[in-house]
Symmetry: D2
Subunit: 314 residues, 4 copies
Amino acid sequence: MLVVMKNDATEVQVQAIIREIENMGYRGVPMPGAQRTAVCIVGNQGPVDDSRLLVLEGVKETIRVTKPYKLVSRETHPEARVIAVGDIKIGGGEPVIMAGPCAVESEEQALTIARLVKKGGAQVFRGGAFKPRTSPYSFQGLGEEGLKILAKVRQETGLLIVTEATDHTNIELVEQYADIIQIGARNMHNYSLLRRAGHSSKPVLLKRSFAATIEELLMSAEYISSEGNNQVILCERGIRTFSDNTRNTLDLSAIPCPSSLTPAMPPDGGTMSSPCPKGLSPSVPTACWWRCTTTRHMPSPTGCSPYTPSSSAS
Amino acid sequence: MLVVMKNDATEVQVQAIIREIENMGYRGVPMPGAQRTAVCIVGNQGPVDDSRLLVLEGVKETIRVTKPYKLVSRETHPEARVIAVGDIKIGGGEPVIMAGPCAVESEEQALTIARLVKKGGAQVFRGGAFKPRTSPYSFQGLGEEGLKILAKVRQETGLLIVTEATDHTNIELVEQYADIIQIGARNMHNYSLLRRAGHSSKPVLLKRSFAATIEELLMSAEYISSEGNNQVILCERGIRTFSDNTRNTLDLSAIPCPSSLTPAMPPDGGTMSSPCPKGLSPSVPTACWWRCTTTRHMPSPTGCSPYTPSSSAS
Amino acid sequence: MLVVMKNDATEVQVQAIIREIENMGYRGVPMPGAQRTAVCIVGNQGPVDDSRLLVLEGVKETIRVTKPYKLVSRETHPEARVIAVGDIKIGGGEPVIMAGPCAVESEEQALTIARLVKKGGAQVFRGGAFKPRTSPYSFQGLGEEGLKILAKVRQETGLLIVTEATDHTNIELVEQYADIIQIGARNMHNYSLLRRAGHSSKPVLLKRSFAATIEELLMSAEYISSEGNNQVILCERGIRTFSDNTRNTLDLSAIPCPSSLTPAMPPDGGTMSSPCPKGLSPSVPTACWWRCTTTRHMPSPTGCSPYTPSSSAS
Amino acid sequence: MLVVMKNDATEVQVQAIIREIENMGYRGVPMPGAQRTAVCIVGNQGPVDDSRLLVLEGVKETIRVTKPYKLVSRETHPEARVIAVGDIKIGGGEPVIMAGPCAVESEEQALTIARLVKKGGAQVFRGGAFKPRTSPYSFQGLGEEGLKILAKVRQETGLLIVTEATDHTNIELVEQYADIIQIGARNMHNYSLLRRAGHSSKPVLLKRSFAATIEELLMSAEYISSEGNNQVILCERGIRTFSDNTRNTLDLSAIPCPSSLTPAMPPDGGTMSSPCPKGLSPSVPTACWWRCTTTRHMPSPTGCSPYTPSSSAS
């Protein structure tokens, strides 16, 4: 439920609402808007009795939020959220291109690709320092050394950095070095990690799990938002189906998403069967502001297979 | 295998090749090109010994076709095929819009929608006269009466007509009235019907089955081509997956298809959860020349449910 | 809707009910039971007003059938149907084993396998004379010659015969030779063929399509039943999923099926990755009366690949 | 690669092999057997040159392990592993029944169900104290209080306890109280948690993720084993498909699994659409030693929906 305050409601009145919501056994999250504030009630299992709230001062009306996700719902926040990172605006209407290799392998590799993708129009550089791998024996990333290389890429090219955090220990490091924290598909259900990302001041790029429904993706975003971080970018990266002509099947219909969050799609993870730098421009849906391309500048020494240079585990 | 003839090879030499191929137990299909002719060998289970062919007069070389589909392969016919119907060219670079209702329900309904979609930019009118229905008790279409209404739509609006044939009896009628014969997703594996469509002089729009791989779709196109009809338009219409936010999941990656045939995609069948007339323009991939939109001008009296006005069985 | 007649209702009263149902614009199908007769109303799109029926003589009550399938529903026919073919009872509690090769290739092959599977406990011999093939260039079966071989197998071994009909022409022949007519997965949506099978006096084994829901399978069975043939055996043969450890994923939960029809499952099509003769006994679920095993006695001369000897198109 | 030692090889010789493997840049894991020891080489990306090993004393032969999973492969450990917990043997041929509610809700609830399932034949009690929930606002389990209730259930009924650990903090607690640590489907790709479970002396029940291939499941088991814990029980719990007649589709073919680990299957998670206590006996495949049934003794006060009492997130 959303408690909408009058235009001239005072901060004291908002605090009184939040206290009353706590008395009722729930939690009240203030959602300041351009003209007025609303307070979102979270934590209720069923319908909320609003009679105790409607009589309080400063309350204009209450609106039921019918979705299981509250804070990320367009019912709660009708406008699309725009996330400002450095000079760029993600969700501001203009597509933002994020590109880079699966894994950071060396300074030379990262810088070579970064210059290439910058020339191609990218504003954000991606590359994994911590790689979630199907096999315990695979290259797991350069770790902090990789993060330092990413920092150097930012310094030399001006590109912003997005890179993945895979657990409760490396998220501390990733937070220090990255401009955007990536949560990979395999961790979309790792609620402990999602809560931790919710405490960060950095935006979070959340990838859809192989077999997650859109509602489950939004519920995972809700985990992040419910801890206070509303800067969530959703990434449709393809789902698992019987279809065998690409590694994953891009679920394009996920893009016009029912939440207020910013959608993103990787052409390589879902659609493409081969890497696609060049002009970095294959078929950008109009509703898609973000894109992530995996690139390779030379054969990999680390065991990423050549025909799927994209992050098999990102 | 493809037997490529020299530029100056004579018709007599081509016929000699075909006879020799028949002597070897296969079938030879001549593929005339702008500059020279090739003969495609079909019917072989394994590799073909080309020694008896290379020594014949007029033969330039032989090329192995490695795909299980032969006539529709780009190995056999490298350029994309352009299908001319009336004044329009399908596959000629410009998108062609095909739009119309699920089923033809009345002359008034068909003409009303036809004028609407023509204004919206459509060149081809779609509408079912024979409807394949999950239930034996559902409205199965107006039959020949529906075809006559479609003929009237063409006469009054100048729109071309595409409509579905569902079995060996109604394909005769559909062939007489339609400009393009549609084979629906449920009949993609109906090889008997595909062969019959292969004897037609009209182009065939072949829809992908719910769970067909791209290779299976191309093999079904091969059934049509192997009977002599090379005018096949492939239609990606969404596949079945666990994802529940749309009725089907559009497999966008099917569009850059490895065959020489013309791909098509319906935005409503796969992507959209609601009908989308207006300007008929949501997100046309650059590789997609064809589009099919299901429209409705008023509540249906025939049992097509309102929330899935699109052809639930087309 | 089901119109249940009183125990002592006369045939004249039943006919009066059917006429009144026809006057209302629907069709009435008599369902004789052990003690009394019911008349099932089919062809209605929505609820039926039973006031005109309840006042007629001999009517005990009316029961709404809430499923989209009527005649095959347990609401209409609460007991499981038992199909008697020759000396065996399919659905009578005891599992019936149907086994044999993908395709009939020669008399020697068929007889060799038939003797083998009879020894293993099978009561019914399966083998395709008409094979639906993904490729137009593959071996399509021996046709009527294959049917004659099957007749010989029956004569020599006493095994009953189940074999597939693939279109409106060969179903006439199959009907003459077979004890059970098989409709393959690729024709589960071929409503024209289903209706034709509904006119047969022979039982029909209906296989579930690769991507059909249980409801769609039952609706296809309803097509057969609505033409008068209630002897339908349903065959769960595995569905298409992302899972790659078997060719299809057996949907075991289809077996306790909500219809009155007889379920069947093939261990090779769904579960097994290799042919499984020996004692023909791997894991028979208790609710499964029927089983179909593909066997091979020697390398195939007809292009059925050795690692999937099972009916790749049956 | 597996380095098989001679029957009379000494511990000193085994240690020399391990040192040499480390010199080669890999890791050697000793696998003691009844008669002789083998050393498994892990950490290699490609083929290993065994010439330096074959010349060492005590070495009988080397065997290439062709699977990406090494320690859990039947190539490395041909016999099925038997896991002894308390008095029971999991994988010893006799099915072991593990049953209990989705979540531990109270002492009364847990004890009531525990007595019921013990009577029904169960040897192990399951129940969640830490619940991974799709929604951040759902009941997340009683935490340590729930674990104490489980300890009481063991004390009073003699049933062993399996319960889920969801992150790096609660796994410490779960390890103290449980006999078997459960890793849920949503954490099957949580490699950090898998490694931690690999350091435990308690057996681990690893559930297959919604969309994991069998190979990915085995690779996750390999994560656990590669840290030293070979007591892994695999749990097939149903996968996500288009099929909508059950919540998940049980992939029965996963049971005859190519690893040496112990497979398990929950009838409720995959097959059943309703809870199934009674005699706890529906269709146990012969290859399945373990089973997990979710039971409910009364309506839930915690928001577990009544029609899916099973662990929606376990």
